[in-house]
């Protein structure tokens, strides 16, 4: 076994591209470990921890790139280097653009060349992000700030500045928005319509907009705010600004608000603004405890309910046939047809989520029935997994959380870790049911269901040979017009023996029913 480092001086590439390359190299036969990273202090710590960093690379500077490899033998190095060269020739800086695209280095250059630019998407390391976002606001651009690791002080300052200028400041840590019909970040291809969304939750926005699409409704605008917006420290600045803008938007008939529970004073303020919207507002603050709500505000418990109620309230969609979420009876029927008796000690549910809000919603729906559920994002501190790498009892994991994404790509982009973890959970004799979300859309993995087919089939076969029966339940968040095609993705999962439900809420309900029946 040999460890080698190659340092490329002054060669910058974004972290997502490099993590995807690292993941690709790690999967090659004969490669024990691989990391391709910019040589920042933090990245060097990660490489040191994985025993991939050699002393000779310690002096590399943040503008250098380190390719660190641990391989079985010298002969592997050439093969790995070919893959690296091929990757950079295809996706390197020269391949960032089509032939007609100009090479632009700064926002100012971009604005000179592109008159009429009105929105900036910023997705650079957090340390630099606020500065770049401020620059964009100063130039009267609306901003979607995808970057995280931006301080609360900076977030508040940027949002105040935006509101003073009448601009959108979506984020930091805003994963998705739909503006004028275009999906920004990780968004889905949904039809246009009369329902406007403001969401402090990326996958929450995706789930609601996809279910609206599924039932024949459409989206006017969907404004992401970043998860911290509804905390007292930020004060709901952008949720209220978005709500006001949608109130006066002539294409928006109904407004849907989506988030984990806002801090109480912020909730009260948001509801006050919602009360003056002059149109119906559906409030989906998952798990929130409401006091009195204004007459035009309807509170709902799940993302699916938010979608369906908003269609019912949307004037342009009146007359549409809305298929209600499955009743308890229907869920029990599916549970009875899908479940067999579990073999002791099989009794636990394991959930592997790529969407944080989908994991949160499942926790919310499952906890009252199943009792204690461990997680890396639990409701109660005592249920926090000390080691998220190992499940205990019923466990639901948000695999997009920092713990899992510190040195690997987000599971919506690269499913490698989820597949690895799925195999681990499926081979655990205590596991009875595995619950998954599959998130489609622009920017997401090109075939997220496809990568699950083999592991699911193999795990179910191995379990059966041992006299166990593993039930796998999934819901797919997407639309038929997404690049991955919702219908095809659902078919692939069904062919592998997965019970596919039409929403995360229904998948959670089915998991509860099956676990309860198997007790």
């Amino acid at each position: 076994m040999i460890t080698r480092n190659f340092v490329r001086r002054n060669h910058y590439s974004d972290s997502v591209s490099l993590m995807l390359l690292s993941s690709k190299l790690t999967k090659m036969p004969g490669v024990i470990g691989a990391a391709v990273m910019m040589a920042t202090d933090n990245n060097k710590v990660l490489m040191r921890r994985s025993q991939l960093l050699l002393e000779e690379s310690e002096t590399a500077s943040p503008s250098d790139m380190i390719i660190a490899l641990k391989v079985e033998g010298e002969e592997m190095l050439a093969e790995v280097q070919n893959v690296v060269e091929d990757f950079f020739s295809k996706t390197g800086r020269s391949a960032n653009f089509t032939e007609n695209d100009p090479v632009v280095r700064t926002q100012d250059m971009a604005l000179k060349m592109f008159e009429g630019a009105n929105l900036a998407i910023i997705s650079i390391p957090g340390r630099y992000a606020a500065r770049e976002a401020k620059k964009a606001l100063e130039r009267d651009l609306h901003v979607l700030l995808f970057s995280d690791n931006v301080s609360l002080e900076d977030e508040k300052e940027l949002k105040k500045m935006a509101v003073a200028k009448g601009l959108l400041m979506m984020g930091p840590d805003c994963g998705t928005s739909i503006i004028n019909g275009y999906g920004l970040g990780f968004a889905n291809a949904v039809r246009k319509g009369g329902i406007g969304l403001v969401a402090a939750s990326g996958t929450g926005l995706q789930e609601v907009s996809c279910i609206i699409n599924k039932h024949g409704g459409g989206i006017s605008q969907a404004i992401g705010t970043g998860g911290r917006d509804v905390k007292s420290s930020v004060g709901g600045i952008m949720m209220m600004a978005g709500l006001q803008a949608l109130s006066s938007d002539h294409d928006t008939e109904v407004i849907v608000l989506v988030s984990k529970p806002p801090d109480k004073p912020v909730l009260d303020q948001i509801l006050e603004v919602a009360g003056n919207a002059g149109k119906p507002v559906v409030s989906c603050f998952l798990g929130a405890v409401y006091g009195k709500v204004p007459d035009n505000v309807l509170t709902v418990r799940t993302l699916e309910e938010a979608a369906i109620r908003s269609i019912e309230l949307s004037a342009s969609n009146k007359g549409l046939h809305v298929e209600y979420p499955a009743s308890g009876t229907r869920i029990r029927e599916v549970a009875e047809s899908g479940s067999c008796s579990f073999r002791p000690p099989q009794r636990f549910l394991r959930g592997l989520f790529s969407g944080g809000t989908l994991c949160y919603e499942a926790l919310l729906l499952l906890s009252p029935v199943l009792g204690d559920i461990y997680s890396n994002i639990p409701f109660e501190p005592r249920l926090k997994l000390l080691d998220p790498g190992k499940s205990i009892g019923h466990t639901l994991l948000d695999l997009g959380d920092d713990y899992f994404t510190e040195s690997r790509p987000h599971p919506m982009i690269d499913a490698s870790y989820r597949v690895e973890r799925f195999e681990k959970e499926a081979s655990d004799p205590e596991t009875a049911v595995i619950l998954l979300d599959v998130v489609l859309g622009y920017g997401s993995h090109p075939d997220p269901a496809g990568v699950l087919v083999d592991p699911v089939s193999k795990a179910r076969t191995s379990a059966l040979l041992e006299g166990r029966n593993i039930i796998v339940i999934a819901s797919v968040c997407g639309t038929p017009d997404d690049p991955q095609d919702l219908t095809r993705q659902e078919e692939k999962l069904r062919e592998a023996g997965v019970l596919v439900m039409p929403s995360n809420a229904q998948a959670s309900a089915l998991a509860t029913a099956i676990i309860s029946m198997g007790r």
Partner: protein
């Protein structure tokens, strides 16, 4: 709060400046949106000390 600026955006053609991840630029082009990609690099070669000095100088 005067949010007419946001309502104006809803009535205009969307023209995006993408600073950072290429996948977002590619996704917008696939959707047929107007988008220019900024090939962003860390200022001061990512050196925190030089960056701090530059920030103090206001550049």
């Amino acid at each position: 709060m005067d949010m007419t600026g946001i309502n104006d955006l809803f009535d205009q053609p969307l023209v995006v400046v993408n600073v950072g991840l290429k996948i977002f630029h590619e996704s917008l082009k696939t959707q047929g949106a107007l988008c220019v990609h900024v090939d962003w690099r860390p200022p001061a070669g990512g050196d925190p000390k030089i960056l701090e000095i530059l920030e103090k100088l206001g550049s």
